[in-house]
Subunit: 382 residues, 2 copies
Amino acid sequence: MKVAVLGYGVVGVGVYEMLGKAQGLEQGPVLVRPGKADAPFKVTSIEEICADPSVGAVAEVMGGVSPAFEYAAAALKAGKHFVTSNKALVAAKGVELKALAEENGVAFLFSAACGGGVPFLHNLSLARRSDRIQSLGGILNGTTNYMLDAMQRLGMDYGQALADAQRLGYAEADPTADVSGLDALRKIMLACAVAYDRLPTEGLLNEGIENITAADVAHFRGRGYTCRLLARGGQNPDGSVYAFVEPVLLREGAAECSVLENYNLARYEGACAGPMVFIGQGAGRWPTASAVLRDLSCILQGQRAMLGESCRQAKADNAALEQLYYVRLPEAFAGRLEAESAETENGVARLITKPMSVLKMHGLAREIRAAGGELFFASIGG
Amino acid sequence: MKVAVLGYGVVGVGVYEMLGKAQGLEQGPVLVRPGKADAPFKVTSIEEICADPSVGAVAEVMGGVSPAFEYAAAALKAGKHFVTSNKALVAAKGVELKALAEENGVAFLFSAACGGGVPFLHNLSLARRSDRIQSLGGILNGTTNYMLDAMQRLGMDYGQALADAQRLGYAEADPTADVSGLDALRKIMLACAVAYDRLPTEGLLNEGIENITAADVAHFRGRGYTCRLLARGGQNPDGSVYAFVEPVLLREGAAECSVLENYNLARYEGACAGPMVFIGQGAGRWPTASAVLRDLSCILQGQRAMLGESCRQAKADNAALEQLYYVRLPEAFAGRLEAESAETENGVARLITKPMSVLKMHGLAREIRAAGGELFFASIGG
């Protein structure tokens, strides 16, 4: 099967090279936008690719919703299988693309869009056909894991860890999507869509790591905890889906604590299969390209969809799940939270809350910050 | 697709129940051997199943090579897809079954035979189509992991740990296949066949855990090591395959150290994908049944094979890979090994060897034992 590649950046070059060696796949034209770097078999319009009867599949690795969506729609309508590593595209337009793929009898797969090289979505989509997925999530952003690990193991402060991640190419010049948790949130949206046929697009909550300090890390490290930024999703008793991102404090010995540097860990819990954990490289040229290639191999073997026929957009409900939280905030604001225990030093309070819902904790944090209180929080356990 | 089940023991019951709920699959007849427990839709001959045109696939979960092989061959010749959790069957007859499946245009999948619920072989078979698998292996036997973990974390001695594993149903009344490493060896044979098109059936080496003592555990725990029984495979520079099982001492923080109780961990290292780790339940009714069901879902999606067309039996070569070993043996035998460092107490020597091949270490252990020397060894690192 000849595969056209849309985009010839970090991942595109990897996909193109791997196509040259993979069983049953062939290098096709590469779409490069005017003014962008040169590429082999370069074409500059999606129409050319759609009109080429020798192209069986299109792999999109450009990123961004537009023009990726228009290109994807054109490819699907032209009867080309479509695979992508573009989480923003699938988070925004996944349900539409699924419908287009069904109408045209072709495949739409996107396991490279969540977990990079980690074959999470693929296995989740298989497992859900015979098992009930009770919960899912994990460390889905390598940049923030690199930073948290550097703060915890190497004793760096936040600014040093961020600068280091940027120097190594793990963080963008503008790291907002990573450190705010938005990148991980988009990935958990996709995982929920695969597991539950609900793509949650409203009611989502994301707390990133922008507010963590070296003093926070020292505090919970001394108590045997490691901090990781976890994305989490699952189904509430009423059938609605929860989906959120927040820092979590984990006891040493948890699999998440063995995930160092910019690695990813994804997990699901199947009613029959039990807990299932996947660890690997979450980003980078070759890991991401290898995930794109795996999707293409799945198409060769006959797979067509990762989203169920009934998949639709839905509102997330984060009010049901209750947890304990570690919260560091100015003493003056401590009374806003019901605490299980509290320590205060130099006007800074560190609390462990009573069980409270994810929705309530994220809402209180917003209120306290709006009133001028600097605050960091992390759930306990996970 | 209607699925016949061969065997109605621990796993068979699970497969049958899961078939009742899975997308696109249906409960078919269950083959129960005369004198065995009753089952729904019971039949007592494979001929009846083969002659039933409504049966699309056969799932074998009886164990043992015979009559499982004869049943498998009959099912494949009758044009039924065949999936199995039976590692002994695939280790002995995998290449023949693959050929039969190809001839008859049906599927032969066996991911439940290695790693229980962990989707290792499935992902390996996908990855190898576009990536080069540099090495593979892991904790593939839950019984011995339970025992090693109990010795390390709970301070049990070997006898207590074994009795505990038997009480919990993790170890058979005759635990030889588990504690000798044979069970893990069969699983790594299958993984090599999937990754390298070579099913190694000669030249294999397995050192189990029968010789580990509480004193060994205390010794390396004090030095920051955790012991795990690892199966390992890979390709030597000349294209031959290595495959062996042995205890390995790992630094705390390695993902293997976070694998507690009877869990399994499987990993491969892809030239492109990098290291990929899978953790989950390695045995038991529901995890194993869920792996059988996943294979059946893959057949529905179009997958037909996990073994390449050129897969054949081959001899393993364990002479190339060199490692350091920890060896505990009677002082009188210590001179037989080239040591990097050594400690001696009460006539017992504990050495760290210079780098030596797997073949040489396992051979020396055999010689020293034949001469009456009690010995435990474990490679360092892994």
